[in-house]
Symmetry: D3
Subunit: 323 residues, 6 copies
Amino acid sequence: MSHKKIYEYAVDENMELFVLIKSADVRVAKNGNQFIAFNFSDSSGEISAKFWDASPADTAAYQPGKIVLLKGKREIYQGNPQIKIYRMRLVKEGEPNDPSLFVQKAPVSKNAMEAEFNQAIFEITNPNWNRIVRFLLKKHQEDFFSYPAAKKNHHAFAGGLAFHTLSMLRLAHAVAHEYQEINAPLLYAATILHDLGKTIELSGPVATQYTLAGNLVGHIVLIDEEVVKAAGQLKISLESEDMLLLRHMLLAHHGLLEYGSPVRPHLLEAEVLHQIDQLDASIQMLKGTLSHTQPGTFSERIFGMDGRNFYKPLAETEQPEQE
Amino acid sequence: MSHKKIYEYAVDENMELFVLIKSADVRVAKNGNQFIAFNFSDSSGEISAKFWDASPADTAAYQPGKIVLLKGKREIYQGNPQIKIYRMRLVKEGEPNDPSLFVQKAPVSKNAMEAEFNQAIFEITNPNWNRIVRFLLKKHQEDFFSYPAAKKNHHAFAGGLAFHTLSMLRLAHAVAHEYQEINAPLLYAATILHDLGKTIELSGPVATQYTLAGNLVGHIVLIDEEVVKAAGQLKISLESEDMLLLRHMLLAHHGLLEYGSPVRPHLLEAEVLHQIDQLDASIQMLKGTLSHTQPGTFSERIFGMDGRNFYKPLAETEQPEQE
Amino acid sequence: MSHKKIYEYAVDENMELFVLIKSADVRVAKNGNQFIAFNFSDSSGEISAKFWDASPADTAAYQPGKIVLLKGKREIYQGNPQIKIYRMRLVKEGEPNDPSLFVQKAPVSKNAMEAEFNQAIFEITNPNWNRIVRFLLKKHQEDFFSYPAAKKNHHAFAGGLAFHTLSMLRLAHAVAHEYQEINAPLLYAATILHDLGKTIELSGPVATQYTLAGNLVGHIVLIDEEVVKAAGQLKISLESEDMLLLRHMLLAHHGLLEYGSPVRPHLLEAEVLHQIDQLDASIQMLKGTLSHTQPGTFSERIFGMDGRNFYKPLAETEQPEQE
Amino acid sequence: MSHKKIYEYAVDENMELFVLIKSADVRVAKNGNQFIAFNFSDSSGEISAKFWDASPADTAAYQPGKIVLLKGKREIYQGNPQIKIYRMRLVKEGEPNDPSLFVQKAPVSKNAMEAEFNQAIFEITNPNWNRIVRFLLKKHQEDFFSYPAAKKNHHAFAGGLAFHTLSMLRLAHAVAHEYQEINAPLLYAATILHDLGKTIELSGPVATQYTLAGNLVGHIVLIDEEVVKAAGQLKISLESEDMLLLRHMLLAHHGLLEYGSPVRPHLLEAEVLHQIDQLDASIQMLKGTLSHTQPGTFSERIFGMDGRNFYKPLAETEQPEQE
Amino acid sequence: MSHKKIYEYAVDENMELFVLIKSADVRVAKNGNQFIAFNFSDSSGEISAKFWDASPADTAAYQPGKIVLLKGKREIYQGNPQIKIYRMRLVKEGEPNDPSLFVQKAPVSKNAMEAEFNQAIFEITNPNWNRIVRFLLKKHQEDFFSYPAAKKNHHAFAGGLAFHTLSMLRLAHAVAHEYQEINAPLLYAATILHDLGKTIELSGPVATQYTLAGNLVGHIVLIDEEVVKAAGQLKISLESEDMLLLRHMLLAHHGLLEYGSPVRPHLLEAEVLHQIDQLDASIQMLKGTLSHTQPGTFSERIFGMDGRNFYKPLAETEQPEQE
Amino acid sequence: MSHKKIYEYAVDENMELFVLIKSADVRVAKNGNQFIAFNFSDSSGEISAKFWDASPADTAAYQPGKIVLLKGKREIYQGNPQIKIYRMRLVKEGEPNDPSLFVQKAPVSKNAMEAEFNQAIFEITNPNWNRIVRFLLKKHQEDFFSYPAAKKNHHAFAGGLAFHTLSMLRLAHAVAHEYQEINAPLLYAATILHDLGKTIELSGPVATQYTLAGNLVGHIVLIDEEVVKAAGQLKISLESEDMLLLRHMLLAHHGLLEYGSPVRPHLLEAEVLHQIDQLDASIQMLKGTLSHTQPGTFSERIFGMDGRNFYKPLAETEQPEQE
């Protein structure tokens, strides 16, 4: 058996490999039999597959979180990658058994990310913002580095939340560098915190669901709540301009009321935060989709990009030398 | 001199009466001279008037909060009531001098309102909601009974906030009575608190402006902040379903994201709260406008009702006997 | 055989009971065989079920309006209740055979409803409105008390039209009581008539469809036509303010042009009518949905509430004492 | 004194001519004095003018409907034609005094229009539609030929209603000729009736206002009412398909619910009626505006065309020979 | 074997006939087997059909462009016509084998269309527009007379592009005749060219797809490109008013930015072009749909008409005599 | 006389300085006299002022492009800076007389900008894109470095077009550096060209108006035309993928059809181009507005930011050390 990963197989190639069951929906087919709609994953990505005529034993055995040995064929169905299953079984003694090895990970290590965050925090020269950021990052540290940034669409992988935050921080740095009028400490502090409420909104890195607090309150107000409580514990006045500015940045970062911000941006830095959030999310979604698209064709339609499909050019991309 | 109030004069009647200067905007006319755009008020309502060719002495003397003796004529200008000023001067020794006697007031006394609120609180049988409501009502008691419910449009008079809340509470009572499935204590608790953040969002009962917190955070998140802090002080867990339900009610009460709620209603009671809020605000706006409209004509266009104008029928309204 | 009703069975419990075939759609499955998509009902509500591999004899026998003896299991499929069919047959001699016993009914008897309507009509002190209301209610009496209020979504049960009208009348009474400015007779008259055009728009209480007049003219203009013809027969001038007010109430009751009203509300009472119509429809839809939702979970998405799903709290609701 | 008409004077030319006062709004200038905002007209069109520092005698004398001798200068103000008034006075004995000679008229005589309508009615071979059309045209004949088609924007001149109807009838004829599938009698009948409700919606050909019925019911439902009453008098069943089709045509002719139709078009002929209505209205509005626009420039923004301005080319238009 | 065409068979009649495979989508059914979703056509129109449990040999054999002998039954499925396939095979030697005989064609011959276009070109008296039109029509002549006007919805048949253009030209003629202010040569020139870019946007008359240029540039800018290049070759100045007017007509013909026009119409003729384009497209879509609808019923919902369904009256249409 | 610039004077300070008349609109005041609405400028920015009771000699003398000696006072009127004019006259012999010294300029010199553009062009390694960019930049060089980027709102100063392009190029560089998947040469080429059509759309750096081509064709299609013609002259095939990609980038850069792009972005790089265009435009608008806003207050509402006003914090911004 080779050791190729899911996306190292070519389309129409036969596959034999270990994969993690990411999700497993049992449904009834139009012929009355049950089938299982799987999402499998390994470190190269996720892929869907259907298991027809599933017996009760099958539906009991193939639960999310299990690792299986899979034989099948890589296919394209209506523009999307999927696997046609020939045979599958649970792993045995002595075969790979650690789910954490079968999930896509942020392309930067946790240590490297932490180092960059620390450098940015060092540049948050305003003491109130600095203390709030350090307090909350410490409080939610573990989840921050393991959660995805979203249930799906963009950065939906383990560590995606921290990695999305890091990418934005790099953009924030570039933008603050280019436009001296921007209050960089404010922009950095808000960038780091802006999606931290997702550690409360979402259930965790695996089989990610919205929590009740996520559904009824939402991550924007949840991070505001965290800031309010942190200020109380750190004896920072919530009536100071500093705190109103920081909270405004977080509350307004979705940009439009229709997107769930209770206020629209009314600070230069809040507008910038919103726009670099969009920019990073868009690029990440497109990167992910285009990585599985054939050159010279259009991708499937992307829900998070208003249902547009994107063209992957034939021409090989020659990058200019980067300094 | 008679003792008639502003709206006791007929259109085109000459007036002589004491009024309060509610607001006084100094502007430059197209001929280059300054004029003052006044809003005058007494207990019968507000009315606008223009003072042409104002000298520096005039603009210095006629400040908001002052009471003046006014001679003029009641007029209608493009459908709106206004006064043509003949002459005016500040009051002298011995003349009326207490601004609080010249503002429109809630049609129910503060004592009567408090009694009704207490009765409603008695019906909030859930101890967590009961304690939060009593804590916050006590904390903001003075402002709650003196603030307007809005800068303009609806309930824009002293005590309007409490009165709007009271009207809604009566509607909430009727609706909960009619539909047994409604969780009445939850609806009552949220009704009482829903606009309490306006005591922080607005600057006060006179010359009402938005505060910085009002502009950058907004009254919906401000009341959420108050609940979060109150729960901390009262040792009530913010993770309990009770508290998530109550906060959701408050966060969702504008109904639509476009109206500034960070979440839409996802509870039966939250939907009801939103709709009775709209109903009371609409009726109050229409009452106010129609009270100054001639029977058989259409009112001016009302901004808060999508710019619609409303017809005041000629036919005298005969109320049926109410039990 | 027990005598339990559909919704008295627990999820996953085996069922054996008599039900009415409310609707029966014959479709082709992806394997090329026909199946029947049923809606069954009894007095506890409606539920769907699929009958696979239906023979021509099956599709001929199982017609809407028939009563069958059904064996199966109650299930939840993607959040919605359904029945897995084991076996079914038409009823035999001596078994229950009256369809009217197997439909959901308004929770108030026709007699009780009539008494309340008569009381309200008594309070319509304007003679023109009073005569029009009595004339049209008498003309459409039978249909008014047997039709549903809508094809689906809200009050979609026999007698739903009268019951929805009654609920609104109670709200109208409460609102008119609270705000003395409201012309109560006008509000009551329009409330009673507002949806009466649905007796012409819809085909009837069973297998409800839109009629050609319903599709091409619509219930709003159909009730206007009824009022025009009634005025002719009762010798009431259509040019009187009375009649223009009443017709405006009916024409404007959907509130927005986009919802099919040819004019928006331009009377205080027309605005109130629209809002209490929405309020009652919303509560009724949510009541229906939540009655089948597990505590601690979210309901399915509700089309008539903009696709929102609603949370049913775990906490038992304790109603305050109602006077 | 020359006998030139308003639009026969060049821009910046001094004028001396008789004009009709079409409307006269008395307003207060920013210097506190009254002025009159006039619309003058003669058979060449309308033009606005301001009369500064109007005395009470002026405002009493210069009423709509009066004819005046005017001296002034033709000007362009912000792209719109206007007159700078030097002097004006009411006409004296022996001077022109018939207002009907000073209004713009339909470019086709009433007799010629009647002949064309009669020819079209002859082609309405369906007896029900034929009788309804003849009945209603006769009932409203006088107003139909004297009313404008709208308060402003398009065909806002005496006889505009009949002329707009006639232009559409010609388009309807051309379209029915080109597409044989169209039911021409239905299209012609509905075209003739579609705006006839405006004779009830509007107050008359001069100083045109909306009537109370126009505001509360609207011309679409008013013509439906006329058809309902006519059918009653002519003993034509309102339940026949014929009558439902005709009423649907009239109700749907605004095309979109947002434009006030209570139903959208669901007949081929209803869709065609809506589109030729739009086409004729657009062309007429643009014709009117461009007739006063300088070649090589853009017109003022046109409210009825979504605020767009239109370019009038420099190049002389050479019409091809028309057969 | 009869020689009836697809739509000459009645619903539920058994069929045996030759048809062209217009498209053939291989999909996986819910039971895991493959099936083919066909569109068949002959000169009477198109119809869909499903071929269940397709073997690899089937999917290999039944490719678009092949002609097959088909046995089956005409059916109606959810309001749309389809065929239930009993048996099918590829044609043999000696059986019909020319795909061009099995496609729907424009109802006017190519020669007749050319004659009408030449007459219109003769009326384009402006030499610049005349030369551009003749140059481009000659360049794209073959495609212009063989392409459909759209992938689907309206005029989706061979020659549909020229036929749609011709129908519009006839409307343009009628409108220019009725309103003398219209610059007829400009309207005719732009009408002829307005959709010519579709010969570059679409792949061809069979198995029509969007080209890469179609997807990335779109037919509106593609025809603009053609005009720019033609002007270069014909030495006509692109800065002349003539050329700006013509290009504006083409760029603005979708009417709204949302529909892909980079500018909205700012010429009378551009507005007219847009509206007659819509009118012809609407009528053609409705004609096509209603030709397969049973009298007295509603059609399926039509995507290109905002999802509305249309009623086909029972009453036989009697056309008036056309001169 | 001091040598202070407009914005070096404090609010309410008396001013005496030379300024350029940027625009001068003659209007009629409500008292019937003419006045001139000026925009004055010097290198510190623009400011408005009204000149009351202007004589014909005044309106003749004070034309755009003239330099005047102005005495007045700096004021704030409804949140916007303006000057109250005491006295003004045209400059005399020996006084400053070069308009180019009185306009706001790009904050980077033309030479420095050219150097950066050349460096970027060097990184456009694709020869087709490289040649097109160099060809068009050379063709429009002079205008590119002197035009504003817009009539108003953002970068509305001389050289603004090149400076806006340069700022975006720096952002493009930072983004391409951060995300290796981006085709940097394509992004750079399109960034440089994206607004170059404005040199044809706008009339010039002074008294900027839209040209006829700007109004009827628009800058997006105008740059596409330039690319088409350039490709013809450089013998580059317009059918190559290279050229379709580049044209798509330019056509799609407004992001939404509603904003005038005939196609939405369907390339990763096209999406990025659109977003960094928005980001730079937003920041530039906010910088400009906030530079005239008092700390601790909100700016006036900004049209180009959906009418939002922005808060300028009290707290002094301390920039972190930038490397």
